[in-house]
Amino acid sequence: LSGRQEAESTAVPSKQMLHSENMEMEPETMETKSVTDYFSKMHMGTVMTSCNTKQK
């Protein structure tokens, strides 16, 4: 019987095995570039240039 009790107690895993290994990390932040942005800047540049030209 003592052996049986022993089996019951050893079969309950330690806290070590019970903690969650599942740590939830926050997402990475990637730097972004975009052709659209570049294009709108270019377009803005063109508009600005033409305005300047007109002023002249």
């Binding site: 089996a7 079969a11 309950v12 969650s20 939830e24």
Partner: protein
Amino acid sequence: DQSFHVRYRMEASCLELALEGERLCKVGDYRAGVSFFEAAIQVGTEDLQVLSAIYSQLGNAYFHLHDYTKALEYHHHDLTLTRTIGDRLGEAKASGNLGNTLKVLGRFDEAVVCCQRHLDIARDLHDKVGEARALYNFGNVYHAKGKSICYSGADPGDFPEEAMVALRKAAEYYEANLFIVKEIEDRAAQGRTYGNLGNTHYLLGNFRNAVIFHEQRLLIAKEFGDKAAERRAYCNLGNAFIFLGEFEVAAEHYKKTLQLARQLKDRAVEAQACYSLGNTYTLLQDYERAIDYHLKHLIIAQDLNDRIGEGRACWSLGNAYTALGNHDQAMHFAEKHLEISKETGDRSGELTARMNVSDLQMVLGLTYSTNSSLLSENKEADYNHDETRSRTGRRHSMENLELMKLTPDKLNVHK
């Protein structure tokens, strides 16, 4: 005139293809996005800013698709290009992306160099947003480095010194980031930093601090109505409360995680929450509830064809039934755990399962043979010998290979 026309047409179609690639990536179809970007490169462009934007987006698309070798290749092309044309802001961005990719690939020292370049340029350009982002990336690299040195099976706060040094550095970078993102009132960035800072303190064994940071993260997640971030915070809070020994509080947080996982229809996370709840109720010695949650976990693991998860569920169920004294059910799950760990090549799991099966064979043998005193005595003697082995085995790491020498012989005795 003819060649100008051809070149004009090519530039136009390169742009059209890139714009379509951009649109597809924005809606999350990275696979299709990649094809358009690659087609755009095939056509070619003489505008190096456009080419840089294509390389960068290809790198990010491959990053999202978890093809890190390809991501590395394109972010590297982008870095070379931006340096050639002297585009400092572009170089900073390429360095940041390259650093993140190298981090995922476990190449931490190179990642650190990239983060430093990102940070230096951002500071040169007085770009506060860029500086904060570089500091966040730095923190992530040191966090990942620290975590990679933590050996499995060790408790948080109990890792090798080298891991602790990296984790402390991560905390420093996150703190530096937090200072800036508070200054520029970027709440979303604050939320991310609080979350990872909480996880870093958790690994450092500062569980009270971890709770404080995760509570801040939770607050911001609620502000934004960001359910996924809210779920992450609850899960991380649950983990920290386990180590504070506040199991009831941990269970409440895991229940919130479960609720949100169901709302978000994320089956894998739902399974994880059930598993955590099962373990928490085991710690509370409420084995009926533990079994209930482990069974829920088992069902989802089977649905998702997750054999490793299924094995873990069987192991946990075996333990819980043993604790309740239901040795027949315990044996059923221990045998299933053995079968699955053999199939998945999980050596330490197989060893644990073999020990559990042999322990249970002993207990069941004792129950069935109470009428024969001689047999009982023999079994008892054998059992005690067995116990000495299995207790030692459990006390040490489960990956202790010394046990392998003992196990086959012991199994033959019982079979």
